[in-house]
């Protein structure tokens, strides 16, 4: 348990992704089987117990420590599990420190009545970090800033294989993943990937660059709209239904409406969208669904989900991935036409004769769903379905971002490489209040889009023009006559009740720093409101 606890402890303090990968790889390389397998399951969300309720944990602690002393401690620490981990009186030598596999085995077989005794024995034997890790494991949700995707990337780096290979075999494997580790340590063959309804690693597109248009012929490519939902893979094979995100996470629980609609036999690649009267709704509507792990009937009715299909990987038992796109497309069209379900439709191809014509379409999308598309997708007619992000067969050609001039209002220090810099910026636009005065209202936060040199200048500006501090946040001088204008680029704009300004941006970033522009000339909230999706 010690090494696992130590790993969780360090991950929880480490903001940088690469450093997290290093920590994970080090752990995977040094922890024995089956401990590392259970740890991996815990990190990828495949191991949840919810065996101990906070109320019980608190009671157990108060039985060991005077309740007033406990209350004073809790008041100081502010987190129940952490308080218990810290105040639990050590009983050195009372019990042997449990190993992670022991804990997992015991919890899987223990009755509800036995759990409290087990827990107390373990808490007696562990140190403070061990107790903290155990309580996190038992109360469900590690929350140490590691996604399942990151854990798989660490696993791939540990074994020296592409992450796609991990994703492909993942759903056929069970914790503690003995076969997986044997393969990654080259002690055995790659585990079978023949499981039904398993995840197939997805093919991704490169962003198209200016020079590419001269290099590639327009006639070699099909174009379709780039839908603004989430990429999914829907599988139904041998009675097994699965819905995966593009990284292979199983997201079925959040979309029972889609699960019920998988009435075909095969594997579809497509975009998950909210459909309203047969039309795609903006991303903000989908966000309502993504926020809930298990939706209620009201939410399902208000935001019905569907799939806009753009590729067919399996038809029945036939693997289509080695067929060229034009053939897969023909099969997909027939497949969707044969399906009677309203929740699955086809992403239409957008005919064009030249790159110029396509550029016009991108700049002026026709009425209807293309209006809210993120741009265009280009797929080579002869391309096979190749996992990863190969250069050439598929391109994305995003719509130009929207731009707004905003004024820097607050700044916060960053993490990792930026820990000494004010690198997270909150910006606002002008709003006229009831007295006719111009006030800045915050509309978003950006922490990338600038160079290291620009960061230094921004940091200096923040330090030189701080007017107030609230904990880690600095308030920066910003008024009609003085302030720093930032040109903000963003992808979409939604109504939001959570933000004071009433709007929320997608992917805001700093496009340019307008040292030259007077703050009074920054945009008005009304300008932004006209850009609402």
């Amino acid at each position: 348990m010690k090494a696992f606890a130590r790993l969780l402890d360090q991950l929880s303090f480490t903001p940088a992704r690469n450093a997290k990968l290093t920590l994970l790889q080090d752990y995977l390389g040094n922890a024995p089987d089956p401990e590392r397998g259970w740890a991996l399951a815990a990190l990828t969300g495949g191991l949840r117990f919810d065996a101990a309720k906070p109320g019980f944990i608190r009671k157990a602690a108060e039985a060991r420590l005077d309740p007033l002393l406990f209350a004073l401690s809790y008041d100081f620490v502010g987190d129940l599990a952490e308080t218990v981990a810290l105040v639990w009186p050590a009983r050195p030598g009372a019990n042997r420190e449990p190993e992670l596999p022991e804990v997992v085995d015991a919890l899987r077989t223990a009755s509800r009545r036995e759990v409290p005794q087990l827990l107390e024995r373990w808490l007696d034997a562990l140190d403070a970090t061990g107790r903290w890790a155990l309580l996190k494991l038992l109360t469900g949700g590690l929350r140490v800033g590691v996604s399942a995707r990151l854990a798989k990337q660490a696993l791939a780096a540990f074994g020296g294989v592409p992450v796609g290979d991990i994703e492909e075999v993942w759903h056929g494997q069970d914790p503690p993943y003995g076969d997986l580790f044997a393969w990654l340590e080259k002690r055995s063959e790659k585990p079978s990937t023949m499981a039904s309804a398993r995840f197939r690693p997805v093919m991704l597109a490169q962003a198209i660059e200016a020079g590419d248009f001269a290099r590639y012929a327009a006639t070699d490519y099909a174009a379709e709209w780039k839908w603004d939902g989430i990429r999914i893979q829907a599988a139904h094979e041998n009675g097994q239904r699965r819905l995966y995100s593009r990284t292979g996470e199983d997201i079925a629980a959040a979309f029972p409406d889609i699960m019920a609609a998988l009435e075909f036999e095969g594997v579809i690649d497509g975009e998950l969208l909210i459909f309203k009267d047969g039309h795609a709704a903006p991303f903000g509507d989908l966000q309502q669904r993504l926020n809930r792990k298990t939706p209620d009937a009201k939410l399902l009715e208000k935001f019905p989900a569907g799939i806009r299909a753009y590729d067919l990987l399996m038809e029945g038992e036939e693997d289509l991935r080695d067929l060229p796109f034009h053939e897969r497309r023909r099969r997909l069209e027939r497949f969707i036409a044969g399906s009677k379900n309203q929740r699955i439709d086809l992403s239409p191809l957008q005919p064009f004769a030249s790159w110029d014509e396509l550029a016009q379409l991108r700049a002026h999308p026709p009425a209807g769903d293309p209006q809210i598309a993120e741009g265009l997708m280009l797929k080579r007619w002869d391309s096979i379905y190749e996992p990863g992000r190969p250069k050439g067969p598929w391109f994305k050609w995003k719509r130009d971002p929207r731009l707004v001039d905003a004024v820097l209002m607050y700044a916060q220090r960053g993490h990792g490489k930026r820990s000494g810099f004010y690198s997270d910026y909150t910006f606002g636009v002008w709003r006229t209040d009831t007295n006719g005065d111009h006030q800045l209202t915050p509309v978003g936060k950006a922490y990338f889009g600038f160079t290291d040199e620009e960061l230094k200048l921004l940091d200096k500006f923040v330090r030189d023009n701080t007017v107030d501090r609230f904990g880690p946040v600095r308030s920066v001088r910003a008024g009609r006559d003085f302030g720093l204008v930032l040109e903000i680029a963003f992808e979409g704009l939604q109504r939001s009740t959570r933000h004071k300004s009433g709007v929320a941006m997608r992917f805001p970033r700093i496009n340019r720093i307008r040292w030259d522009k007077p703050a009074r000339d920054a945009d008005e909230l009304a300008t932004l409101e006209r850009m609402l999706d």
Binding site: F13, L69, L72, D79, T83, L86, R413, S419, G420
Partner: protein, 335 residues
């Protein structure tokens, strides 16, 4: 309690001994002061006379200049000094170099003022010496049951493990310039780390003073001579305020570490953007505070700066008469 107050009482300047006419660690200038140790919230300049250990006097001279008091008197550990009818002895407190408890004997009463203390081994100063007493005046910086410090050697091992795992990055360890910094250096040396350790400019004076008093620190070099983006794979020790600020930018993708008892609580580490918290403290933790009180069994326990409330509660539960003194001016965060 009234009996002890003839010998020791709380005043706006700090603890005062009327029959001996001196203050202990006064927070404002007074005529006669007894100073337990060199940290600036306990050892201020501008007093008339100062009685302290030779090491503490040297630390004060290094910090404030030779004329920090009108006159000084050095008392070695165990040496009896008469002040009015009161006998004053300084006993090791195990906190930092020169740190002492003030032991006051008057008529048949013994009072011990702990100053700041710890019970754990520290290679840079002699260990705390328990002195049986009628009244014990205890610090309570970490007077909450959440503070149960791990073994400092394990924390240093954690630092070295991280250095091995991230050889391309600089480990920047925040540590108080007097005491904590030298203890970490000594602990690193004990664990076999022989490489040069790099120091923020603010560390130089105290390091030299410790070395002059016979504390081995091994090879040290200034960190500030370094080029930009320098010292990958090295350990740099700096005051806590420097680790997350402009000064830190010169190093190679630094990992901010902080050696302090406060690092026991995760939110404290996060607030300071610490990525490698090291729970190493020069104060007594909860267990040490409680065990010391149990060991000394004083008739009364007075609790000075820190988290008094929990220790008061503990004393009540254990039938020890206890009072919290509210002494303004000691820094809660002083480590």
């Amino acid at each position: 309690m009234a009996g002890f107050r003839q010998l020791l009482r709380n005043t706006p300047q700090g603890l005062y001994c009327p029959p001996g006419d001196f203050h202990i660690d006064p927070v404002q200038p007074v005529d006669h002061a007894v100073i337990t140790h060199g940290h600036s919230d306990h050892a201020r300049s501008g007093h008339g006379t100062v009685l302290a250990t030779p090491e503490t006097l040297a630390i004060m001279a290094a910090r404030y200049g030779e004329d920090f008091a009108a006159s000084t008197q050095a008392a070695r550990y165990g040496e009896k000094i008469a002040r009015g009818g009161v006998s004053v002895t300084l006993a090791p407190a195990g906190h930092v170099l020169g740190s002492a408890q003030a032991v006051l004997r008057w008529k048949d009463i013994t009072v011990v003022v702990s100053g700041d203390y710890k019970r754990r081994r520290d290679p840079t100063c002699p260990p705390f010496e328990p002195v049986p007493c009628n009244l014990f005046v205890s610090e309570a910086t970490f007077g909450l049951p959440v503070f149960r410090f791990p073994d400092a050697a394990d924390e240093v091992a954690k630092l070295l493990k991280s250095v091995a795992l991230f050889p391309e990055r600089t480990h920047l360890v925040g540590a108080y310039a007097l005491g904590k910094a030298q203890r970490i250096i000594a602990l690193l040396r004990e664990s076999g780390y022989a490489k040069t350790l790099y120091m923020h400019g603010a560390m130089a004076g105290m390091n030299a003073l410790y070395q002059a008093h016979g504390v081995e620190l091994g090879p040290l070099a200034p960190a500030t001579d370094a080029e930009r983006n320098a010292l990958p794979g090295e350990i740099v020790i700096a005051p806590p305020s420097a680790i997350a600020d402009k000064w830190a930018r010169r190093f190679a993708d630094p990992i901010p570490a902080f050696a302090s008892g406060w690092m026991m609580v995760r939110a404290r580490a996060r607030q300071r953007h610490v990525e490698l918290p090291l729970v190493i403290s020069d104060h007594a933790d909860w267990d040490e505070l409680v065990l010391t009180a149990e060991e000394l069994k004083p008739e009364e326990l007075w609790i000075t700066h820190g988290n008094e409330e929990a220790l008061l509660r503990w004393a009540t539960l254990n039938n020890i008469a206890a009072t919290a003194l509210e002494i303004a001016g000691y820094e809660d965060e002083a480590e």
